[in-house]
Amino acid sequence: MENKGLNKVDLIFEKIDNHEVLAKGFKMSKDEIIQEILNSGLKGRGGAGFPTGMKWKFTSEAKSPEKYIVCNADEGEPGTFKDREILDRVSNKVHGGMAIAGKAIGAKKGIVYLRGEYRYLLPKLMIELDSFHKMIKKIGYDFEIEYRLGSGAYICGEESALFESIEGKRGEPRNKPPYPTVSGVYGKPTSINNVETLVTAMMIVQHGAKNFIQYGTKDSRGSKVFSVSGDTPTPGIFELELGMTVQQFVNEFGDGDTKAVQVGGASGFCVPRKKFAETIIGFEGVPTGGSMKLFNSSRSMYNVLHNYLEFFTEESCGQCTPCRVGCQQLLKGVEKVKKGEAKSTYLNELMKLADTMKIAAKCGLGQSVGNAFKSIVGNFKEEIIY
């Protein structure tokens, strides 16, 4: 496997001449834009990692006079805060990325779904959006963006729940298929992309796919913004080239006593010290939307797991039984084992339940509870039992 080492990059937050990049983008045909994004190998930065070029291609092929580009700024995954920083510092690139995506898929309308926790950003964003609208009007391009706010529900980051929420309903995920590229918000073909994905797409139009693929590895092209928190002397937001190992990451950000890194937030994976060297951060190893939490040896991994399970139990939309009941049972189960009310072998039953949830839950929330559960219980069994 390729290993690129730890490399700091400055592309996402780089100040650019938006007008110039957009004028270039709008001169390209929709097929040229899609081909450029396909060539770049860009994968979605929201966590799931679906190839962005494919998503745009499918949406562009859907036949409908009305289509949407939706920017997912719900950022609810514990430990992620990069989208807030991107919107705060370079919203013009987010808006620009949406306009370019709009051109590629044939959408005249864009919607940003901003989590309610970030409402304080709105007055500034409205001013920036206003000048953005004026600028593209000057270029002579017809495209409009609207902001919609969330109201404190993690599940609304799931794409179909997000559409429901925009439509004024409970944020309950839909059945798939149909996929958003066919039937998204208001039942129209929709490309939904993460904030950072849109900025990265803008950057690819600016610098060309050829330059973008100089960064990262075959499976994980480019660089990405990481949100670093927990037991680290340098918490914050860092743009790093993809392809480093957890060990290299810990060498840079650890406090000398790191025992585990949770990669990808509560729905991601826990990597213990003995696997730092062999684990690559990226789609060939542990994928991440950017959340990196470090834990040192003073931390109880039982407390970490318990906190995550509480999180899922509260944030499960409750629509399907495997997730609604499963989350509660996992939480109660580890509590029982800890108190000695259940034998340690009960953990094996709980591991099976987590597997069942992966298969039977309706959406990504229920399906990924097992990631943290199994990797924490699997690697830190003694801490869960004693």
């Binding site: 950022e75 989590r115 926790e117 109201s151 944020g171 914050g236 970490v304």
Partner: protein, 154 residues
Amino acid sequence: MYQVGNLVKELSDKHGHARESLMPILQAIVQKHNYLTDEAMVEVARELDISAAEVYGTASFYTFLDTQVKGKYVIRVCKTITCSMKGKSDIIQSIEEMLNIKVGETTPDNQFSLIETNCIGWCHKAPAILINDLPFTELTPEKVTEIIKDYMQK
């Protein structure tokens, strides 16, 4: 309890009477009055021509669309892992002592409500809280006491 008066009508004229205007309308009522009364929800249902149960069902799904009385300043303390590791309990304790209420309660003068919430996106500056829309980060018991004091004088 507050009287909604003309607010719902004004809001639905501004945002539109279609179902997709529901969230912006409810959010605007909460911005102004901090929570939703039954009266407000019934009024919204009438303006949008949907059943009151639909409005209530939607509102009750979202933690920020409170249907219980809330104070003028809603303090939300993040309880997710990083904040919890970095001293969230001390922050809660300071606020509880200062306002003489427990988590989940509202002061008798309806000025403050104290609730816990999940990750608010400031983990690198934990512990963090929101007071209405505004984030306050890297808190210590002393710092949060000063902040609440300022709000008491508003």
